[in-house]
Symmetry: C2
Subunit: 387 residues, 2 copies
C-alpha cells in the first residue's frame, strides 16, 4: 500500500516539492528547511501555516488523499488500515494548540562557540499551531491495545518520505505518552483550521505535544507498538545530547537517550541584533516555551548583559497544568539606562523559568555538543542606542 508516487531514479527527487512562501529564511533548499523571519516569528500566537518553520529530512511525498491508508499494527500482529475518511469519522476530532520546536533551534549560536554538524537555525525553528485530528490514544485502543502495558514500550512512526534506498523517515515515542489522555498526542489532519499543508505532512502527521519536532513524524504511513525504539537513524544515531568533551571520534550514540521532552527555552524576537534603538523607552519582545507540558511561569529580561533583571509581562491564555503545550509570548517596556544612551552598546538578555522552576543555562559553551542540539542558553541581543 505504498501511496506515494515514486519519482523516476534519474529525476531530481525534490522536483515534486511544493511551492513555498518567499518570506521564509531558507537554511537548506533540498531537503527544504526554513524558518520564519524573526520579526514575524512571535507577532502572532498562532503561526500562519505558510510561515510555520519547515524541517524536512527528505523530499516531500506526493500523496493521493483518496487512496491514502494509515497502517496500524495491532496486538498479536493484526493489521488495521485506516483511510482518511475513517480517521475523520470513526474517531472524535480532538484539537490541541501546541508549539513544535526543532532540536536544532538556535544552533547558529552554538556553532559560534565551535563548529557543529547541522543546519544553521537561528531562533525560528519553533512555531505554534492549532492542530486537529484523531487522538493516537483512541486509535491505539481501537486497534486493541490497552492503557496499561507491563514494561517499556514504544510507539513507532514511519513516514512516506524515503531516502534513495527506500528507507522511510522514522521515530518513536514512549507508549505511556502515546496512550495517556493527558498526553494529547494526535494523528493530525488539520493545522490552524485548514488541511495539513504538504510541507507539514499532508495528509496526516503525528503531533506529539511537548516533544521535540523530530518525533512529530509527517506523511505518516505506519504506526506500530514495539518493545524497542524506532530503528531509524534519527531515533538511534541522531537527536541526542552529549557533553562538550564528546567529539566525532568518541561519540557513542547508545550512551545517551533519544531527545523527547525539550528543556526550557526563550528568545528575543525584537529588537534584532545590531539594531539602533531610540533613547528612552525600549520595548523588548520574545517567546518562551518548555517541553513536557511545563508552562512558562516567568521570563526575566536584562538590559545590562545579565547583571540586573526585570520581569516581563506574559501574554496569552493560561494553559492547563502539565498540559501547557503552547509557547508564551512576552514583552517588556523599560527605560534605557542613561549610561547606555550615548551611542553605547546594550546587551539585552532573556531567560525563562518553567513550572518545574527549571531555568536556562547562562552560557552556550558548557552545553555545546557536536550535533548542535538543545541550544537553550540565555538569548543575548546586542543593540546600540541612537545618540
Amino acid at each position: 500500500e505504498e501511496v506515494a508516487a515514486p519519482a523516476p531514479a534519474t529525476a531530481d527527487p525534490f522536483s515534486g516539492d511544493p511551492p513555498r512562501h518567499p518570506g521564509l529564511r531558507v537554511n537548506s533548499q533540498k531537503p527544504f528547511n526554513a524558518e520564519p523571519p524573526p520579526e514575524l516569528l512571535a507577532e502572532r500566537f498562532l503561526t500562519p501555516n505558510e510561515l510555520f518553520f519547515t524541517r524536512n529530512h527528505l523530499p516531500v511525498p506526493a500523496v493521493d488523499p483518496e487512496s491514502y491508508q494509515l497502517r496500524v499494527e495491532g496486538p498479536g500482529g493484526r493489521e488495521l488500515c485506516l483511510s482518511l475518511e475513517e480517521l475523520r469519522t470513526r474517531f472524535p476530532k480532538h484539537e490541541v494548540t501546541a508549539t513544535l520546536q526543532c532540536a536544532g533551534n538556535r544552533r547558529a549560536e552554538m556553532s559560534r562557540v565551535r563548529p557543529v554538524k547541522g543546519l544553521e537555525w537561528d531562533i525560528g525553528a519553533i512555531s505554534t499551531a492549532r492542530w486537529g485530528g484523531a487522538r493516537l490514544r483512541d486509535v491505539l485502543l481501537h486497534a486493541g491495545f490497552s492503557e496499561e502495558r507491563e514494561g517499556e514500550w514504544h510507539v513507532c512512526f514511519e513516514g512516506l518520505d524515503t531516502d534513495v534506498g527506500g528507507a522511510p523517515y522514522g521515530a518513536s515515542i514512549p507508549y505511556g505518552k502515546a496512550v495517556s489522555a493527558a498526553g494529547d498526542v494526535l494523528l493530525a489532519y488539520e493545522m490552524n483550521g485548514a488541511e495539513l499543508p504538504r510541507d507539514h505532512g499532508f495528509p496526516l502527521r503525528a503531533v506529539v505535544p511537548g516533544v521535540v519536532g523530530a518525533r512529530n513524524v509527517k506523511w505518516l504511513r505506519r504506526v506500530a507498538v514495539s518493545p524497542a525504539e524506532s530503528p531509524s537513524h534519527w531515533q538511534r544515531n541522531d537527536y541526542k545530547g552529549f557533553a562538550p568533551c564528546v567529539d566525532w571520534d568518541t561519540v557513542d550514540y547508545s550512551a545517551a537517550p533519544a531527545i523527547q521532552e525539550l528543556p526550557v527555552q526563550s528568545a528575543i524576537t525584537h529588537p534584532r541584533p545590531g539594531a539602533v534603538v531610540p533613547p528612552g523607552e525600549l520595548t523588548v519582545k520574545g517567546y518562551a516555551w518548555s517541553g513536557g507540558g511545563h508552562g512558562v511561569v516567568r521570563v526575566d529580561v536584562s538590559l545590562d548583559g545579565g547583571r540586573t533583571w526585570q520581569v516581563a509581562r506574559l501574554a496569552g491564555e493560561r494553559q492547563a497544568l502539565g498540559r501547557a503545550w503552547a509557547w508564551t509570548l512576552w514583552e517588556l517596556q523599560a527605560p534605557v539606562a542613561a549610561a547606555a544612551a550615548g551611542g553605547e552598546e546594550l546587551e539585552i538578555v532573556c531567560k525563562a523559568v518553567d513550572s518545574s522552576y527549571n531555568v536556562q543555562p547562562d552560557t552556550v559553551a558548557p552545553i555545546w555538543n557536536l550535533r548542535g542540539v538543545l541550544s537553550n542558553a540565555w538569548h543575548r541581543v546586542r543593540v546600540s542606542v541612537r545618540p
Copy 2:
C-alpha cells in the same frame, strides 16, 4: 479527634521532641532542622533513617498510634476516618524509593550572593529512602473520588503539628498527581523497612515523589479535595520562586506558583571545600536528582572551574521512565592537571542533565531570590593540591 497530646501553654513546646543522632549538622534546634554530614550524605543510596535530613516547621507531635485516625473528606462532604490498622490492611502496601529535597537545599550558597531569609542549608537538605504505605490514589478512590475531575483540583494535607495558635502545618498537591497510578503518591507508614521515625512523621506522612519536601506533609491528620490550594501559609506565602529583583517590599506571593516539581540538581560530596588533595588521581563523588520523575541522564564534572568537562560514571539501578524518583550517585576518577599540581587551587564543578535535557544554571546570582529557594546552580568546590 485531635490525637496529639497538647502541651501546657507555659511549657517549652519543643520539650517533647525526640532524641536525635549526634552526627547531624543542626541548622535550627527549635524547630529541629538538620542535615547529614556531607561526607556521609551520598555514601549510601538509601539514607539511614537517623541521618535523613529533618525539616520541621513546628514541634514534633506526640501521637498515640492506637487512637490515631486519618480524616479523609470524601465527595459531598462525607467523611471517612481510617485507623493505622485500616490503612495497613484495607489497601495494598505500595513501596517507592524516592528522594526528598527541601526547597532550601544549598541556600548557604545563595546567601553568599546576598542575604536571604531562611535556614542555612548546605548541600544536605536531600536524602533518599524506601517508603512503604497505602497509595493516596487507592484511598481517594475508596473515599468515592474518581480518576477524572473536570477543572483544577487540589489534594490538601494537614499535619498534627500546630503553631501556638493551633493552626496546623499544611500544603497541597495537584489532584492529577495525587490520583494517577504513575504518580506513586503514598500515605507512608514505613521508611526503609522500619516504622516512620517521629521526626519523619510518625505514624503517617505524605510521600509525593518528585515534589518539593514541603508538600510531603508529616504527621498527617487530614486529607481533603478542594478547588483551591491549601490555605496554609506555606502553600500560599512561602515556597515560591521569584526574580532576583523582587525584594520584601515588592514581593507578591500571588504572582508565582507554589513550588511542586523541583528543577535538576547536583552537588559534590567529596572532596570537601578547602580539602588538600594528593597529586595524581583525584576521585570526585556526588549526587544528582531532578523533580517530576525525570531521571538523571548525565553528570559533567570540571576540574578547571568549568572550562573543560568530563563525564562522570553514574551508579545505581536504572529507574522507570518518568518515574525516576530517586537520586543518582556518581563518581569520577581523573588525573589532576600538572598545572594545578603545584599547591595551586583547583575548582571542581559539577552539573547534571535530566531526561528532559534540562541543565543547571552556571551561576547563583541570576537565580537568587529573597527566600533562598531553588538554589541549583553548578556546584563548585575549591581544593588545593598537596605539593
